[in-house]
């Protein structure tokens, strides 16, 4: 009987300490490699899904998830908390950011509107909503370009315009991909220029990718005005 009592006490203490344990685990994770980033993601999600009653702390964890680039997790974490705190404007704002990162503009705008409905005096929300709307406009222009790519005789021009648009919404990996495609449509010299510029990205103390991409866009911008045949022969 004594042993059973002891085990029951241990069970009780175990249950009491779980929340503290997860908090301690979250605070102790220092992101040094990708594995630790995933550990942090899981720990944050564990806290939010199992506890999450401390709203301020939980929102801090969602921000951590955002910083780590876990947008899908931000959306589900915010959803769990919205089930408990449906009138918290910041939760809508955070979920909206998650949607925005995944190019789900309609959902993002709906969340920003929800946040503003609850807290109309919050100027930050209004500024952010305006910025999302502008980004959505660029996104819609990109979708039109995608449509025209299928029928375009000069994909060089469409791809370059798309790269410019993607650059303006900070989609740098996508820009690099499009510039790679563009480099194959121009002359050998254009292709070599692309390779030489991109190689500087991989070097130690290499230049910032935004600078390289910007220069590449400018370079191909000059080539754009040439006739496709002349472009190839240049």
């Amino acid at each position: 009987m004594r042993y059973i009592n002891l085990i029951l006490i241990m069970l009780f203490l175990h249950a009491c300490n779980s929340e503290k344990k997860i908090r301690h685990q979250i605070e102790s994770i220092r992101i040094q490699d990708v594995t630790e980033k995933y550990d942090l993601g899981i720990a944050c999600m564990e806290y939010i899904s199992q506890y999450g009653d401390d709203l301020a702390y939980s929102k801090g964890l969602i921000r951590k998830l955002l910083e780590a680039g876990f947008s899908a997790e931000v959306i589900s974490a915010a959803e769990i908390l919205l089930g408990k705190f449906p009138d918290d404007p910041e939760l809508y704002n955070l979920r909206g950011l998650g949607y925005l990162n995944m190019h789900q503009y309609v959902l993002a705008i709906a969340d920003y509107n929800n946040a503003i409905r609850i807290q109309p005096e919050n100027k930050q929300f209004l500024i952010e909503l305006q910025s999302v709307r502008e980004e959505e406009k660029v996104w819609n222009e990109i979708q039109v370009m995608n449509g025209s790519l299928a029928n375009s005789a000069d994909s060089f021009d469409v791809l370059l315009r798309r790269a410019e648009k993607l650059y303006s919404i900070r989609e740098y990996d996508a820009v690099l991909y499009d510039l790679g495609s563009i480099s194959k449509l121009g002359s050998e010299q254009d292709s070599l220029y692309y390779v030489s510029q991109v190689s500087t990205l991989n070097q130690e103390k290499g230049r910032k990718s935004v600078e390289v991409l910007s220069e590449l866009i400018q370079y191909y911008g000059k080539v754009r005005n040439l006739d496709p045949k002349a472009r190839k022969a240049k």
Binding site: I7, M10, H14, Y38, D39, H103, L149, E171
Partner: protein, 396 residues
């Protein structure tokens, strides 16, 4: 207190329990302590709803309501009475008046990292609720051989369906090689009882939990010792929970040369590599031989069969929506008169491929996120509501 001297001290033999009784009592005490200790020791490691299986290699435990982890995603998992991912824990009737679609596939169709109602099968079930009932028997690391065994097991259980939809995945090429020597054990009352007993003990008994955990850890360690090149190259970018799960499916495979080759673990790139193309072809051929068995099984039950293929991130970046792999399966489906769906164009189109992978895939992973599932569901809802299923009662 003083004992009365009037009462003689009698050594009673009738109050003393027999050795058998003592043994039973000891077992009971140990069992109670074992189960109580289980409450403290047994931790939910987010894959406890998974289980090995004597007939179809592995699957999901029935009637589970728990949490699962994939990468950094933590999501709620519910399984029905047949051990299938579902929106609720409930008893599935073996026969129903409604048309029934049975989905088979691997982790993509199981929907790892995404809560069931947001997976394509959850969306299909919701949107086609008036037309058909959707059951999803998919499970991580399934391939045609296991899918065939799973379907056979369900049909022998008495499950009636009208349509089987198999989502062929690129990893099937590797899985078919890994499961080549797996032999399903005969079904029996005894085996089924042992299987159920194992599930219960794994959940509640601390002793059983410790023994099986140590054995699993040892197996995982052994796997990573052999697959060390893969470990060094890719481990830093892959979440630990995903890697551990990956390791558990190699229990019937001991080709150390292949295991230690990093390219063996990059199955998505096999058919672009001249050295691995032959291996890809072997994997595809093995898969197709089991697909034919599944087709025969479906025909015997008058059940329609549809298969589909879908790309990984690597295929999307390559940009060919009708590549070698698609052609292989399309040709196979045409020859054997199986309905075929190519989902490559859904992801490979004029959209920038980097944007496509960002939008529809879990970060750093080949599985769809909730928006990827929604995209696939959008296509399939249209497909199944237009031409997917036969008339109710027509085939029964």
């Amino acid at each position: 207190m003083v004992k009365s001297s009037d009462q003689p001290v009698v050594k009673s033999t009738s109050g003393r329990s027999s050795p058998v009784q003592q043994l039973l009592l000891s077992i009971m005490i140990i069992a109670v302590l074992d189960f109580l200790a289980g409450f403290i020791i047994i931790k939910d490691d987010y894959s406890t709803f998974r289980t090995p299986h004597y007939f179809y290699h592995h699957g999901l435990k029935p009637d589970q309501d728990t949490w699962s982890a994939w990468g950094s995603s933590l999501y709620r998992v519910k399984t029905n009475s047949l051990g299938m991912m579902d929106s609720a824990v409930y008893d599935v009737k073996l026969k129903t008046g409604k048309q029934r679609l049975l989905i088979l596939g691997d982790s993509h169709s199981e929907g790892v990292g995404v809560v069931y109602p947001k997976t394509f099968s959850g969306i299909l079930a919701r949107q086609l609720v008036d037309q058909l009932e959707v059951l999803n028997a998919s499970c991580i690391s399934y391939s045609p051989k296991i899918e065939y065994l799973r379907a056979k097991f369900l049909f022998e259980q008495g499950l009636k369906v009208d349509h089987v939809f198999v989502l062929i995945d690129l990893s099937d090429m590797q899985n078919e090689l890994v499961y080549e020597h797996f032999e399903p054990k005969k079904r029996s009352w005894m085996r089924e009882t042992l299987y159920t007993g194992r599930i219960i003990l794994r959940k509640y008994s601390s002793i059983f939990y410790l023994v099986t955990s140590i054995s699993e850890k040892w197996q995982t360690k052994k796997f990573f010792e052999t697959a060390r090149f893969f470990n060094e190259q890719k481990i830093s970018g892959t979440p630990a929970n995903t890697l551990d799960l990956y390791a558990t499916f190699f229990s019937d495979f001991d080709d150390k040369v292949l295991l230690s080759n990093p390219q063996f673990h990059g199955v998505g790139e096999w058919y672009y590599n001249e050295r691995f193309k032959a291996l890809a072809d072997t994997g595809i051929a093995l898969g197709q031989s089991y697909l034919l068995k599944l087709k025969a099984l479906c025909d015997s039950q008058q059940v329609k069969l549809t298969i589909s293929v879908h790309p990984w991130q690597y295929q999307i970046l390559k940009g060919n929506d009708h590549d070698y792999y698609v052609n292989k399966w399309e040709t196979f489906a045409r020859i054997f008169d199986i309905e075929f769906i190519n989902l490559f164009p859904l992801f490979i189109n004029t959209q920038n491929p980097v944007i496509t992978t960002d939008m529809y895939f879990i970060q750093g992973d080949n599985h769809w996120n909730q928006f990827g599932h929604a995209l696939v569901a959008g296509y399939l809802v249209n497909y199944f509501s237009k031409n997917g299923t036969p008339e109710i009662g027509h085939l029964r």
